[in-house]
Point group: C2
């Protein structure tokens, strides 16, 4: 099979791919509101000849599994979609094409130059919340297969197209796919890391700190204890821990040259009820990174130590211990680079071959400072998980956008990779 024919097929369908992406970004699929986007995906998959599996995640099914993250709220609204494209011959190696449908909140709309869920194309870029992270990846996964079908070909092994929820807060969507029995010889996740292969990813812990104060009329403010201001020394203690954890001697080898891979983020805060009352409560939400191989329990212990030590030096908190609650991410780090299995090496070789053909340069690597769903496949299902996707900007920020020529290249590389990894059979 001439590889350039496959690239041309991607080109020919690229208009349809962009239409699909525009439609997908139009669905404001923030956590808990993914259903309409998942309905759209399920409909498309059905129309394209996939067997469609659409199910609501049941926390009870996954709560005991390794990698599970404690849940925020219930999962009445958490729906996964998997489309299966069965091979007749099953001669090749099977593949999971995974992507997440959930997007992070937009923040204040007035800070966007254009409405975040009205995607717009401006030159080589498409703007919109989720355009990069990671609806472009879902589009690329789907149209890599469509390009092959356009040539009357299809993978010579089973391929599973997964559209999962919960990637941005727990990863329990990907975990639920494992629990439901989906397995393959490799996984590809086109997260937007600029056409580089993610060699390692950090782990992430989310936690919430709840502080009490002693409310009084502000007339007697000195006799009260301000719960909002009590948070400040705790922020400092947490940032001190962050600096310590990023020290050279603590780093995973793939991050040896990265001076600040583990970011601690005070991401949300709320406190007090009335300007003229000394605030009685304050709650803040934090995200902290961990290196691959680092124990989450150890990190939790250090977090609590930092908080309780700082609290013990505070006149009010010393007697009113803060509460630390773990909600959301309990995600271990994962290093694809550390996976020396023959499957991992083979998947890497195939992807490198595809990428090099499209881009004209060998595949580069990136040890990223975020997590992805790859960890589930790599750590808990013994399946090499390649994270490789297009270039995007301002993910989680205002005016998020994705580079469309990059999306085209990723789609081409993916199609070549599938042809190589799975082999091809005639439709």
């Amino acid at each position: 099979m001439d590889k350039t024919v496959i690239l041309h097929a991607v080109d020919e369908l690229f208009g349809r791919e962009l239409d699909f992406l525009v439609e997908l970004v139009r669905h404001p699929s923030t956590r808990g509101r993914e259903q309409s986007a998942q309905d759209f995906i399920a409909r498309e998959l059905g129309g394209l000849g996939y067997e469609v599996d659409r199910w609501q995640i049941d926390v009870a099914d996954i709560a005991g599994l390794p990698g599970f993250s404690p849940v925020i709220g219930d999962y009445d609204d958490a729906v996964n979609v998997v489309g299966t494209l069965r091979s007749r011959s099953k001669r090749g190696r099977s593949l999971i094409l995974n992507g997440h449908i959930d997007v992070v909140p937009t923040g204040p709309l007035e800070m966007w130059e254009r409405a975040p869920f009205h995607p717009h194309i401006d030159g080589d870029w498409m703007g919109g919340r989720g355009a990069g992270d990671m609806k472009a990846g879902l589009a690329s996964n789907l149209f890599a297969i469509e390009a092959l079908k356009h040539l009357d070909l299809r993978p010579a092994a089973d391929v599973f197209f997964q559209s999962v929820v919960e990637e941005e807060c727990t990863g329990n969507g990907a975990l639920a796919c494992l629990q439901r029995g989906y397995r393959a010889d490799a996984v590809l996740i086109p997260e937007p890391f600029a056409e580089k292969l993610v060699s390692s990813q950090v782990g992430v812990i989310w936690f919430q700190v709840r502080l009490k104060g002693l409310p009084t009329h502000v007339a007697y403010a000195a006799s009260g204890a301000n719960a909002i201001e009590a948070a400040i020394p705790l922020f400092e203690a947490l940032h001190f821990l962050e600096r310590r954890m990023n020290a050279q001697e603590c780093r995973h080898h793939d991050y040896a040259g990265h001076s600040h891979a583990l970011n601690l983020n005070i991401g949300k805060i709320e406190g007090g009820d009335w300007a003229s009352s000394v605030p009685a409560w304050c709650v803040f939400d934090v995200r902290m990174g961990v290196f691959p191989g680092q124990s989450l329990d150890d990190m939790r212990r250090m977090i609590e130590e930092a908080i309780f030590d700082a609290a013990s030096n505070h006149p009010f908190l010393a007697r009113n211990r803060p509460e630390v609650v773990y909600n959301g991410f309990a995600a271990e780090g994962y290093s694809f680079k550390d996976d020396q299995s023959s499957a991992a090496r083979a998947a890497l070789t195939a992807l490198d071959r595809a990428h090099s053909f499209v881009v004209g340069k060998p595949l580069e690597y990136d040890a990223i400072t975020a997590t992805t769903d790859a960890r589930f496949f790599g750590l808990y299902a013994d399946t090499p998980a390649l994270v490789y996707g297009p270039r995007a900007e301002a993910i989680h920020g205002f005016n998020e956008r994705v580079d469309l020529e990059s999306v085209r290249r990723i789609t081409q590389s993916t199609a070549l990779f599938i042809a190589d990894w799975c082999g091809l059979e005639e439709v």
Copy 2:
């Protein structure tokens, strides 16, 4: 008239007074939810022979008046009640008995030993949100008159019983009573300041500071600007201003011995949307005191200077100036002590006489570090306003409570004061 007879009449009705107070505290009359409490008051006043005036405040009617505070939301739910008890003879001096029906929020319910709107009596104390601040005062105003009526007497001048909203955030309820034409020769407001006469009260400014941040995925936290943490140097700058304003040389003479009369309170905060996104916004609400005679405009200028100076030293805020919004209190300070008018001196003499008879000791004075509605009468209607009420604890805090024997004494002093100030006529 033998004064002890009046005291006994208060005693005889004290069970009814407590029943009234219990019923009043049962209405959870936080701002915007005062209607049921006002309905109850209006019904009681009607039953007791007052002419009842119940009206919805129209912002347009008061927005141009001195003392007006900018409004939070609309006033669809802001209802004042005034009961007028007309004298036939009109021989004496007229009187406004003023109290506010609004209470501050409870804060987290689990921090109360008992439900805040299920008042309970425990020995000499009645607990509940608003029991002290200031429903006991409303009860005392009403039953001081009832005690006289119990003796077949009533004031020999018109008396206006006012139950106003908005005391805790703007004072616009009291202002609306002025605008509606209610005037008298003196005002009594039984705010819970431990049976002392308020000689001076501070003014209060509320303001909100709105900060922007530069949101990014936390993976690239260093490239973002955390709007929550950006608030910290602003808190510091505001507290620095607070210390400066409390310096000896800045104090009003009635606060010369008070090292910290002007309290700055960071009372509320909210910011960020997602633990793993660098927060794009943060909003906090502040209350700051000013001395009597101090210009609110000057204080606003100093507040803005403090905020903008601090912002100019912050890498992100320097280019993204915080917004300062004035919502709620724009309250000037007021010193009854500075009012050397004959009306003020006469009112003070009458109250001192009443208090001394009941308590056995001369009236003490207190320069308080909070504001009350007294300022409207004193500053904008040339009417001496006596703030004199029972002892309470934890107002604006958890487990607020009022000393019932103190309520009894205040009711007795009030009845004696009315008899003296207004004179008496037979029913």
